[in-house]
Symmetry: C2
Subunit: 314 residues, 2 copies
Amino acid sequence: MSVCVLAGGVGAARFLAGLVQATDPTEVTAVVNVGDDMVLHGLHISPDLDTCTYTLADAINPDTGWGLAGETWAAMDQLERLGGEAWFRLGDRDLATHLYRTQRLSEGAPLSAVTAELAAAWGLVCRLLPVTDDPLRTLVTLAATDTEPEREVGFQDWFVGQQHAPDVASLHFDGADAARPAPRVLEAIGDADVVVVAPSNPLVSIDPVLAVPGVRDAVVSRRESVVAVSPIIAGRALKGPADQLMANLGHEPSVVGVARLYAPLVGTLVIDTADAALAGAVEAEGVRGVAAPTIMSDRAAAQALAEVTVGAAA
Amino acid sequence: MSVCVLAGGVGAARFLAGLVQATDPTEVTAVVNVGDDMVLHGLHISPDLDTCTYTLADAINPDTGWGLAGETWAAMDQLERLGGEAWFRLGDRDLATHLYRTQRLSEGAPLSAVTAELAAAWGLVCRLLPVTDDPLRTLVTLAATDTEPEREVGFQDWFVGQQHAPDVASLHFDGADAARPAPRVLEAIGDADVVVVAPSNPLVSIDPVLAVPGVRDAVVSRRESVVAVSPIIAGRALKGPADQLMANLGHEPSVVGVARLYAPLVGTLVIDTADAALAGAVEAEGVRGVAAPTIMSDRAAAQALAEVTVGAAA
């Protein structure tokens, strides 16, 4: 049973960690968002790829969901002392990932090759692919406020720097039009027995993946084998701003709103048991609704969710 | 008494630390080599500027002469685990310097401004100037061996990566022709009461400074007020490959060879008491020879050397 997962950060990473226990990990491919990537301090940082890698390696900081467990902060503390930009917290061991990636990219290696090298160094068995090797950056237009006009900022500036507090007027995936799918991305989607849209933010984790020309069409053509897991439970995101963002951009922040967004490409939507009463409303959007526990409080829960999800397509 | 010091790495840094005790530190300006700079892991590293800064801040690792005292190595250890390039050792707190510099340069700040910011953060009172804000890179052509033809490598590849073991056929200061002196460099040389050529490697620390158009002429025009401190003692460099390099490139590795190299721009050469017998041979090169203890085993010794040096010009 081969499974291809469209993936963002924390939610996707936890799902993947469950999936590689639920099925043959050599048959699992994640196609990961790079719209959150940025260059800071000259370093190429790929937050979603790293969160997936660290989680699959069982090295993630379980309290934050990002960064490494048992991390030290000597560089960041010193950077603060120097008056540098320390709002994006990079632990000492995490820095090594960005040093490695940046050096290899500067040598001409594509991001997909570097991602594979890092995954191998961490002992991963499943395959992680950035959706593209080309530059693709999610830009966020902050809504006007009483005191400030609309303005566009980088994703991490909004998400981390401003803790996603400002309302969002629109999103733009800069570079997407010219981006090409990374090697094996379209094949992974086309050849998988099941394609899963992970419980990630539909608008800033999944949409940038779909924005790479060819990817959305590849998913749509597999629609009957595509299962999404709703990141919205009882109208709220478990973590992160998916609910706020959906409301900001005119989408109902509910499993019904998720079904409506995904209906063109998804045959089945796994919704939390808390939303079981909305299964009919989901089906009214043309998407099969399957209710199951979706809160991945530990690996066993993530594995159970992965089993239900893969089973829902079969 | 204002003093301008042409400076490389460890020897210059120690001299400067003595000088700021011997005279008003607000009247001290160091014009520092950037030929050793490099970009590694995407980070702009300025080894000589950092060695001067850390030494003046009394934060240098006294055992190595480079890097910070009490440093930790979490990032570098992890980079090794990932299979990355870990030959150039960057401590966790030292990394913060390079993160800061790279970020500021990427924002368009010139290296001289960033250097001043870092010096201020470390509480330095004297002024550190990179000789130029423009790219200038020392390239080393390794001599042919029985098994390998001549080939050109970056300075740090030879100096650190190969521990300066290979013989050198020639040096090239890439970018020097187009480089402009950083703001205040020519004024610092022109206005100082005394110009000191620090006990640094003449060929790879001082020559790249002089290679920036305008700098050599500025020093030559001050020749009577220019005092050099010989980095060669009894035919050997205390630290580093100055003796080997002088021999490789056809210069006698002795205080006489140093006098011959510096004669066009230096009125006085401070030589170690161990070489007192060579004072006459130094004078025969047209350079006044002053013998004094030049080994800077501690700050008091460095201060005494600075006093002798500055006094020798006056």
